[in-house]
Each structure stands twice: as C-alpha cells, then as structure tokens.
Symmetry: none
C-alpha cells in the first residue's frame, strides 16, 4: 500500500540508535537561511550556523556533506516570501514594465546575490536548481497569467495568448545582462518589453 510505503520512506530505514532530532534539523536550516540573508553564501560559515542553531558542527556534518548541500536543503524548505501584487497600470506595456522593474530590484538585492552564490552549487546538484526554481515558478506563472489576461480583456492581445514566454525569457535576459556587468535599469526594461516581450506575445501561437 502506498501509505505504508510513504511511512517507511519517511522513517528512512531507521533501525537502531537514537533517532535524529528533527527539531535540530529545522533549527540548523533556519540558522543557515538567516545567515545566508545576512552575510551571503560565501561569507557564511558552518561554524556560524552551528553557533546560531545552538548545535554542534558534528551534528551538521552528520547530515550534510558540506556547505552547498546544507544551503540547498535550507532553500528547499524555505517558505515562499510574500507575493507580488501586479499593479494595474492600464496598459500591457505598463504592466510589463512594472513587473520587470520589480524583478530587476529583486535581482539587485540579497536574493540575487544568493542565486549567484549558488550558481556553482547548482552545477553540481541540479536538484538544488529545481528547488530554487520551484519556489518562484508558481508566483511567476500567476503574475504572467494575470498580466496577459488583463491585456486580453483590454483587447491588447488576442484571446488564448500564450503567456509562458514572459516568464521564461524575461528573467533569462535579465540574468544575462547582469552577468555582463551591465545595469538593470529603466532603459533596459523598456528594451526588453518593446523589443522582446511584446513582439513575442504577439507572434507566438501555441
């Protein structure tokens, strides 16, 4: 039966010995997240995590092989932050500009730093990347869907327009731009909207 199977997996073949204290795990992950936000991935040390979690280094190394894996788990378990409410600016272009500006701001902040810091770790562990992605996928979808639906209602876009390119192309271009050492400014936002996103929305046929 599936239920008992799941239970077995959850208990993870625990045979003998004192069972691991799940609370320690949570405390450690929480401490790791706090430190990630405060000092960044590079400057975060396992020792500091142990101190903040009132744990010991041994307990951390018993569970995770290293910093990357710990951070990966921490992010996987992180509850999503607050939602972004898409402001209705009255036009498709305005809506897109607004949301892209918000995205630029996010990438310039600590979240962007975290993502960059994790770039190396993601290469080693794709699952970490998926965890990162899954955190934002739903909200990104909602945002794009809402903007396109409004534009359709306004008559700016044909019904059944595919909104998926927005969430795929916009962050990618922004990331690339950032990696090129160029500013994520208003000018680039307009370029992105006028030359890439709006053309794509008009041309794509699902």
């Amino acid at each position: 039966m599936a239920e008992s199977e799941v239970a077995t997996i959850e208990e993870e073949l625990h045979k003998g010995g004192r069972p691991r204290d799940e609370a320690r795990e949570q405390a450690i992950l929480a401490a790791a997240l706090e430190l990630l936000a405060e000092v960044g991935y590079e400057a975060m040390s396992i020792e500091a995590v142990a101190v903040r979690a009132k744990s010991s280094k041994a307990t951390i190394y018993r569970r995770w092989p290293g910093k990357a894996e710990l951070v990966a788990d921490a992010i996987k378990r992180q509850h999503g932050g607050e939602e972004y409410r898409v402001p209705d600016t009255g036009s498709l272009r305005g809506d897109l500009l607004a949301v892209i500006q918000w995205m630029f701001d996010a990438m310039a902040g600590p979240d962007g730093g975290l993502m960059c810091g994790l770039a190396v770790a993601v290469r080693a562990d794709p699952a970490l990347g998926q965890a990162l992605e899954s955190r934002s996928h739903e909200s990104k979808t909602k945002i794009a869907e809402a903007i396109v639906a409004r534009a359709v209602a306004r008559g700016e876009l044909p019904a059944r327009t595919d909104f998926s390119p927005i969430m795929e192309v916009a962050p990618g271009c922004a990331l690339m731009r950032a990696m090129s050492g160029q500013p994520l400014d208003r000018q680039y936002a307009e370029h992105l909207v006028d030359r890439i996103l709006i053309p794509l929305l008009h041309s794509t046929r699902p």
Copy 2:
C-alpha cells in the same frame, strides 16, 4: 601632448625606486588563468597562483586587492579561443539548432563553470562582467549575423531582419534553464528555436 600623457599614465606616477617588472604581472595572470581552468574559481587560491608564477604573495597583493580583481584582469587579457564556424545546415532552423547545441555544450564544460564561479565576483565588479562579455560579444555577433544573412539569402527571412535578439535571448534562456537545474538538451534547444527565436526573428521590426 597625448603621447606624454599616455606615458605618464602607464608609468603611473612612478617617481623613484625600482620599477615594477611587467613580466611578473604577465606571469601571475597566466598562472591565474591556468589555475582557473584547472580547479575553478572557488578552489583557486592566491597562494597557488604565487607558487605557479614563481612570484610572492606580496607582489600579487601589491597589484590587486583580492582574488576577484586578479581573476577579472586575467580574463580581460585572455586571448579569445578558437572561433566557432557555423555549419550551413540548409535551413534557418537547422542553423539555429546547431549553434544552440554548441552553446549548450560550452556551458556544460569548464567555461560554464568559470562563468558560474565568477557570478559573485561580477556582482561586486560590473567591469569584470563587461570583460567577460566583450570576449564573446564579437564572435556571438558574427555568428548570429551569418545565420540570419543565410536565411535571408534563402528567402526564409525578410531582408534587414534584426539579428540582435538571437544573441541576447538565447544565452539568457539557456543560463536560466541551467540555473533551474534542468537539462540543456535537444528538446529544450528545439523549444528555444521554435517557440522563441524564430518567432522573434519574424516579428521584430527594428
């Protein structure tokens, strides 16, 4: 006079004492590049660079404040690798698929690792990102230009089609995909070509 001005800048207010040995600088940068390629940005240590360059740490720190800046300089001075020759597959779609597959391969290799490793450094120093970008910009432009020109010649695209979206969007989407822990495989290449690039090429009007 411009000439003397340049000279002054080059000598950088050199008043007395032994002048800096330019050869040391080159040796250090070369050693840094070698180590970058061998062990990656994270695992590369200044100490190792000094040993390989038969230099001393002091000489390195006299010139660069830290690892990021040293690596930035190293990459700036790196001569571009061999050019990529775009194969003529007979169709726009085939050409795009070929070049994107090549790009995917490059990102999976050490060059991709280097880029990820430098992500953090780029955030701190946009100039490093520009240096990275400038290395590849020209070749990327040439490639995109060639593909579009051929497609125009074949009649697949109208004359004067803007090729810039290709070099902007494709790497960005690939990077995003990689950071999401998802595979850069044939399937995604086709998705990219059919749903993003070709529609963009057809719709964009400069």
Copy 3:
C-alpha cells in the same frame, strides 16, 4: 554473615531488571587489552573498544567511569604471560646479567610502553599500580630466589642471603635510566650488577 554480605556486594544491590551480562564485561576487557597492545594507552579510544567488543559506549560507561579505570580492570584480569626461565650461566654475575638483559628487553618492548602509558593513570589510582605490580611480583620473586639459591649452592653467597633487593632495586634503576633517555645496554647492565646488585647482596643482613 560474611557469605551473604559478599553475595550482596557481588550482585551490587541488584533489585529488579535484567542483570548485567558478564560476557559483555569480558568482551570489553579483552578488546581493551588488544587495543592497548596494538596502539598504546594514549591512542586507545573508548569508541574503538566499543566497536571491537561489539558493544556500545553506554555499556562501557555503565561499568567504568573512564579510560583509566577500564584499562586498570583489563590489566588486573589479564593472565600473566609465559614465565621466564633463568638460565644457569655458572656464576652469580652471569645469572644476574642474563636476567637483567631480559628485563631491559622487556622494557624496550610493548610492555614497557604500556607501563609508561599508564604512569599517569597510576598516579590517579594506586590500585591500578598494585594490579600491575601483582602481575609480576610472583615471577620476579621466583627469579631472584632461584638466582640467589644457586649462588649460595656455589658458595658465592652466604646462606640466608636476602634476595629482595634484587627485585626492588634493579627494575627501579632500569626505569630511572630509561626515563633519563639513556640506553638500557650491556654496559649499564654490567654497571648495575657489579656496582649495585652484587655489593648489595654481599652487604645486606636481614
């Protein structure tokens, strides 16, 4: 009654619950002895003892407060090794030299190492020292007795010569010499015999 008292002490106020498994105790002591011989007192860890005895650390700590006490018990229960057969060299001097050379060899080997390793523990627990001593006391007495008896028979010593100084002074001097970082060689053996032991045997009147 003395018998019930002893019984009570042996059972050590055992009221309810599963009684201790005597076999575990033996297995642990045996493992401890093996490890002592293999790696020495300092390098021996309780964890290693537990592993080798297929025991758990808790079972060890339930019985002994620490390493020193465990080792003390282990040595107490150790069966003495093989006896030393004193060769009859035909003279008191020859016999003494032979047995002292044998003692030197023993101190240079693992037994000597064990003794040194336990020096600290003995200071904390004199009973451990007594246990160590009692292991060798009988054989030392026999050896000294035999040598002196032979010498008396040969007419080298007067009847009723006290043999106790031999077993008291010789090991002490040897230990001191070893602790002084000087070699336990033939030369010192001769010095010990000619200047200390033989004079003592001739002069002591019980």
Copy 4:
C-alpha cells in the same frame, strides 16, 4: 673555524623570507610551561598554549610537530627551580631520611605528574629524557656529595666513599614504588635508607 660553524648552525641555513621571531618561540615555550604546571600534560591543549602566548596555532605547528615535542623543548629551556638545602640532622641516617622525604614530596607534586605524563614522550625521544635528567643531575649530585662529605667528617663513612649510588638508586626505587601504587611514606623511606642506601655506601668500593 668552530665559531663560524656555530653561527651557521644558529642561523640554521636561513636563506630567504622573514626570519622566525625568536620572541614568539620564547612566549610559546613560556606559555606551555605555565599550562603544564597548572593543568598537567594531558589536559594541556595546543589551543590554550596559543591563546596564552598570544600566538596562533599555525605558528606553533610551524615549529613543533606536536604537543610532545613542544613540551620537550619547553622543559629543555626551563631554568632550574630553587635549590634544595640539605639540613644537617647530625647523622648520616637522618640526612638521608630528610632528603628522601623531600624527594618523595616532590614526586607526589606536580613535578612528578609532569614526569609521568612525559613518560610516553621520553620513549619516543630519548633526548627529552636527557633534558629532564640534566635539569636535576647537578643538584642531585651536590646533595649526595654534601651528605656523604658530612658523614665522612663525622667518621660515619670512610674517606673517598662513592656517593653515586645514592642519586642513582634512591630515585629509581622511589619511582618503582610509586608505579606499583604503593605509598611513598616514612616507612618506605626508612626501609630505603636502612636496607639499601646505607649498606650500599658501606660496601661500594670505587
């Protein structure tokens, strides 16, 4: 020439680089000695030495491979403590009893503990034992010489009596007794004097 040879040895082939700071070495050795006296060999940690010497572990490990060697050096450089003044009790037996009682007290105190703690280290490095010995050799000789000289003056011993057995046998027997877990008390002191030392002094002919 011998002088330049010594100089070369002192400078120990120092070619390039910043020379080692001799003051650090002294500070570390001093800290080690303090801690040895305070907490004993076993409980002394390299970390604590580093803290007290306001040094770093790296600096310590750069010079010494481990704790044993550090302690060995520390003791080698230690200036001898205060001299023991032999009280004139009016008789050879009284003088011997006094000095042996003083020796027993010393062995029961921290100096004895240090010696036991170093027993293992001495086996590995005889030079350490010699260093330990050389610290006490001179004073031991003086003490024994003084006692015997007084006894000779009193007419208790013949002129030119060899005093060397005292300093050789007495500490050895005491050490052995201590290692046997038996008390170094008045009773044993009398035994040592009456049965071993005085007979030896009377019988030995250099």
